[in-house]
Amino acid sequence: MVAGFCAVALLSSVLASGLAYVLVRRAILQRTQDAVLAEVRETVARTVPPELPPDAGHAVAADLERALTKQDGRTRAYAVALPLDREVPLPHEVGPQLHVPVGREFARRAARGMVFQRVVHDGRPYLLVGTHVTGYRTTVEEPQRTTPPIVFVSVSLQREEADLRSFTRAVAIADVMALAAAFVLALLATRSVLLPVRQLGTAARALGDGRLETRLRVRGRDELADLARTFNGTAEALERTVTELRAMEAASRRFVADVSHELRTPLTAMIAVTDVLAEEGGASPAGGTAARLVVAEVRRLGVLVENLIEISRFDSGAAALVPDDLVVAEAVTATLAARGWSGQVPVRGPDDLVARLDPRRFDVIIANLAGNALRHGAPPVRLDFRPASRRDRPGFELTITDRGPGIPDDMLALVFDRFVKAEAARTRSEGSGLGLSIARENARLHGGTLEAANAAEGGAVFTLWLPLDRR
């Protein structure tokens, strides 16, 4: 936009100055020509008598040359008796008499009337004027002796050329200044257009980044103001919708949390008597089966409810860390041992790595990852950890790998979503479908990350990174 302004300004100033140049050149040359022609005409008319004495041509010629030649050398003159029977004798050499050579044709035409010509000689411009006079008397028998001489005058146009040069320079300077002025004006003008556009862009980006309260100040009544108003309307509608959606989502989450809490009390009663049911429900084989089923499902329900409550605590931001200094190797080993998995999952990592973690939450992460690998992957399941800094933050990386079929590509992005199960056929699962979500939430609570991928050699790889010290 600025460049366009400047281009237009440059174009117009160049055109204007070009035009001015042509006009000025014509004016300057015209003035000089007119002045020279008038002077020559006047001088010749004054100097040549109406009737010449016999053989006085050279004296008149000398008079003419004297009258027309200027001391500064700018104007030189050459006058010679006009021969009636042959060509006009022209100066042999350029210099002492005239600045430029005179052509035959010029001399011929000068004998018939007043003529001039602009000539460039040796790179310098000159004006050449040639003329004879009229209105003289001569004798019939000896016209040769009383014919006035023919006159040639050459005028150097260097002064005019210098004037033109300085004019050109002035015009060029003016053009440059006009361009600079145009640039400044263009900047000012485009600011008033570009600034709102830029603000609109910034606001749109802010809106895209989720700052829905972003609004633009509406100024003026032009199209940009309209656009800003439209933007504000859209942002408002969007904010309203998103707020409503968020409120609805929060309400539904709160509902899930409330339901889970309410389920706890009946579950307490049910779980408390599961053992009784398991031991004494077996009055008949069918009763035993029923009792076992109820016991198993009640325990599953208990896990599900606890997981739902845990997730809803993350959702409501109520989840808090209770950090302690943990020897990672010991913590991992204890977690595996507590579930009876020590023999199935070999652990490799430095014994002396200490991290500040919430033991319970770290236990949940490891237990969920290891449990997931044992259930869905194929052995051998391996757990490795090593110190690893991320973005200059000291931490450690823990990977749990299995040699199973891995995670289908379309599931990789969803594996941490709630109630996502890797195998469609596995409708009946030991897990609640929340385990990996909870593991990831726990990792985030620590300021860490949890990612899933497939190993090149097959099998799933879950990579946990946690900082050594939570800031």
Partner: protein
């Protein structure tokens, strides 16, 4: 708080079936109360069930239970306040049944002097194990008598005196003090103390240790805010200093 997530903590071994205790169970929900009563009775305990805190306080005066299991959410006098009242003039061990998920109940309960807590819904065997662990704290200590300045710990009599004055410590507090005093000058981790005193399976809740240490300090230190007998080893655990 054992076992959120898909995988639950392995139940601690059920032991000492012969050991029975009289338990004061306070729970307002009739079904839960009846079910817990049934489950604990089957595990060999004598259970006194009560619905409200006020009732429970009256029962305490009439009968002498060996341990109280209190639901936190009670109408009127709630479980935490009840615990505080009990602790005011009694060393009776208290286990809280926390129903809500937030940690505030746990923190408040431990401040009020609870010895341990379990989260509802709870497996009867887990609750039984905790009860037994609490009760064991009053037993099986090697008989000797050590003095640290004006603090005298009499393991045989399970008594602690400071400047000749008897200090009333709960079994949990006494057990933790003994565990610390057994190896004076050596720093013990919270994990270690949790396992040794509370018999919790990994991971346990180290806040139990912190809260208990605070309570002991309040009783044995000259200036609890500047403890000299039980030192905090930052980022690690605690150390008993035998002056």
């Amino acid at each position: 708080m054992s076992g959120f997530g898909d995988i639950r903590g392995r139940d601690p071994d059920v032991a000492d079936n012969d050991a029975v205790a009289t338990i004061l169970l306070v729970e307002d929900d009739p079904s839960a109360r009846a079910a817990l009563d049934l489950a604990l009775s089957r595990l060999g305990h004598g259970v006194i069930s009560q619905t409200t805190g006020e009732e429970a306080l009256q029962t305490l005066r009439a009968r002498r239970p060996e341990i109280a299991v209190l639901d936190v959410m009670l109408p009127g006098l709630d479980g935490i306040e009840l615990c505080r009242r009990i602790r005011r003039d009694d060393a009776l061990p208290v286990i809280l049944l926390t129903a809500r998920g937030d940690d505030l109940d746990v923190v408040l309960g431990l401040e009020a002097g609870a010895d341990d807590y379990v989260v509802k819904p709870v497996e009867p065997r887990v609750l039984d194990a905790r009860i037994r662990a609490v009760l064991r704290r009053a037993e099986n200590t090697p008989a000797d008598r050590t003095s640290h300045g004006d603090l005298v710990i009499d393991r045989a009599a399970l008594k602690v005196t400071k400047g000749g004055r008897d200090l009333r410590l709960t079994p949990t507090e006494l057990r933790l003090l003994l565990e610390l005093a057994r190896r004076p000058g050596r720093a013990l981790t919270r994990r270690h103390l949790l396992a040794a005193v509370w018999e919790h399976a990994y991971p346990g809740d180290s806040r139990l240790v912190d809260a208990c240490v605070q309570r002991i300090r309040a009783k044995i230190e000259d200036e609890p805010s500047e403890p000299r007998l039980i030192e905090t080893v930052r980022g690690f655990g605690y150390r008993f200093c035998a002056s």
